[in-house]
């Protein structure tokens, strides 16, 4: 089972963002879309998630999948509390008690339990981003798609959240795709890094990191050759 993009084209007017783009994504690795701003990474992710449709080409294997999506902006309901924002995506849960447990579990994970009754305008940008991540975790989609999920977070918390994402992936093995232009983030959690350029979007290089995540944490030097490969693009 995999998500397959075949000859996908997407243009806004005459501006081609994707031109016969191909990509295969599986559950066995954490995939990272790594590239400069404006190269078309976000458009690619919205196409995979079905938020927008390709002009040409096919995207296979996404029809029956549920998406946990972390947007670039937090997209929280301003009139609902942190807890209610997460409950909002769990509306279809028949069992209210399990929904409540789920909300508490993810709030703990992003260290926001004590802010659960606060409104978004009472939180900092980083905290709002954590709520958005917590919402994605709580929904437990088959695909965890994240568009710059660690933007605005300080280092320690970022590392905890990256550990949480890895742990979540190891436990539930969703398709996991995230966008970043931060080398450290890419090296810390991604198994497959697609170095992108564009528009139109192209895979310039693919870097595969076979180092297990616990080793990366213990021995950061194990990532040195991959760091060199990533930085070599310049």
């Amino acid at each position: 089972m995999s998500i397959q993009l075949q000859d996908v084209c997407k243009a806004y007017g005459d501006f081609k963002v994707l031109d016969h783009f191909n990509l295969t994504i599986d559950r066995k690795r954490i995939h990272c879309l790594f590239g400069p701003s404006g190269c078309g990474k976000s458009t690619l992710l919205t196409l995979i998630a079905g938020i927008s449709a390709p002009d040409l080409g096919t995207i296979k294997g996404t029809d029956v999948l549920k998406f946990s999506y972390v947007f670039q902006e937090e997209r929280l309901l301003p009139w609902r509390t942190v807890k209610e924002n997460i409950q909002f995506v769990l509306q279809s849960h028949k069992d209210k008690h399990s929904a409540h447990t789920q909300v508490q579990r993810v709030l703990e994970l992003v260290e926001l339990t004590q802010f659960q009754n606060h409104y978004p305008n009472e939180l900092s940008g980083g905290m709002k981003q954590r709520v958005s991540l917590a919402r994605a975790f709580a929904y437990a989609g088959d695909v965890l798609a994240m568009d710059e999920p660690f933007k605005g977070l300080h280092f320690d918390l970022k590392r905890d959240l990256m550990d949480a994402i890895v742990a979540y992936w190891q436990n539930y093995s969703p398709y996991t795709i995230f966008i970043t232009h931060d080398v450290e983030e890419a090296l810390y959690i991604a198994d497959d890094i697609y170095m992108l350029e564009g528009p139109p979007l192209q895979i310039k290089k693919q870097v595969y990191i076979p180092v297990p995540h616990d080793v990366r944490k213990r021995d950061p030097d194990s990532l040195l050759p991959y760091r060199a490969a990533l930085l070599a693009r310049k």
Binding site: Y69, E73, R75, L77, F88, V89, R135
Partner: protein
């Protein structure tokens, strides 16, 4: 605590002072003009009002006028919200309805009243007029409210497969609420004005407007002023009750 009481007292004192100032202006106007038939004194209006309230027919009249305004407003709010939501969501429906709303807004009330006199029984004319004039206000505001809904939130709800009813309750309704309350407050003010106008011309039994007409016919200016005061008070009461209700709703939400 003490500070609050002092502040409260100052506010009340200020309000009384402002009221007395305007009653003073009224009294001066009465002295300058000097004829009760043009401008009655505050005292003679108070006496007229006292006499009105004493009469058993007063409460019956007030009750039926409230009934007509309430039915007209309720119809305009319910239908305005339903049609407003549909028009806000479907541009074709909006395009179809918009000319009708513009036409209603720019047509003189009196034209509608005359047409309504031909179509309806006298008691239903004020209800129809109240509905007809308030409906476009509610409709326009609801459409504007729907158009302010953040498409990014809708996109988020769609990707998380949130059910349409939950989207309506948690995204659409909170976005529409400020527009809805502004519309209803405007409609309450306008509703009273146009209903009473329609009552003046359609003469239903037990109606404030019919009494205004009789007061005019008998040149009983103090009674005319007294009935007008009754309308003002009722309109303010309607608005206040709604403002309190909406405040409670916001606290609950």
């Amino acid at each position: 605590m003490k500070d609050f009481i002092i502040k409260d007292k100052t506010v009340i004192f200020k309000k009384i002072a402002i009221a007395l100032f305007w009653i003073g202006i009224w009294q001066m106007a009465y002295w300058i003009i000097g004829r009760d038939i043009y401008v009655p004194s505050p005292f003679s209006v108070s006496v007229a009002l006292y006499k009105l309230v004493q009469a058993p027919s007063f409460w019956k009249t007030v009750f039926f006028s409230i009934y007509r305004v309430a039915v007209g407003l309720l119809l305009s709010i319910v239908l305005g919200v339903i049609f407003g939501i549909v028009a806000g969501l479907h541009s074709l429906f909006y395009e179809v309805m918009r000319p009708m709303m513009s036409a209603i807004k720019s047509t003189p009330v009196i034209s509608f009243i005359i047409i309504a006199l031909l179509w309806f029984s006298s008691t239903n004319v004020p209800i129809f007029i109240c509905f007809l004039l308030c409906f476009p206000i509610v409709w326009t505001n609801i459409v504007a409210g729907i158009h302010t809904v953040d498409p990014k939130l809708l996109e988020m709800a769609k990707i998380y497969r949130v059910e349409p009813l939950a989207i309506l309750r948690h995204i659409y309704l909170p976005s529409i609420m400020p527009y809805f309350s502004a519309a209803v407050l405007t409609a309450f003010g306008l509703g009273w004005k146009v209903s009473v106008t329609a009552e003046v011309l359609s003469h239903p039994k037990n109606a404030i407007g019919s009494n205004l007409h009789s007061a005019k016919a008998y040149l009983d200016t103090p009674a005319l002023f007294a009935w007008t005061l009754v309308v003002i008070v009722l309109s303010i009461l309607f608005e206040s009750f709604f403002a309190i209700w909406i405040k409670g709703k916001r606290r609950d939400a």
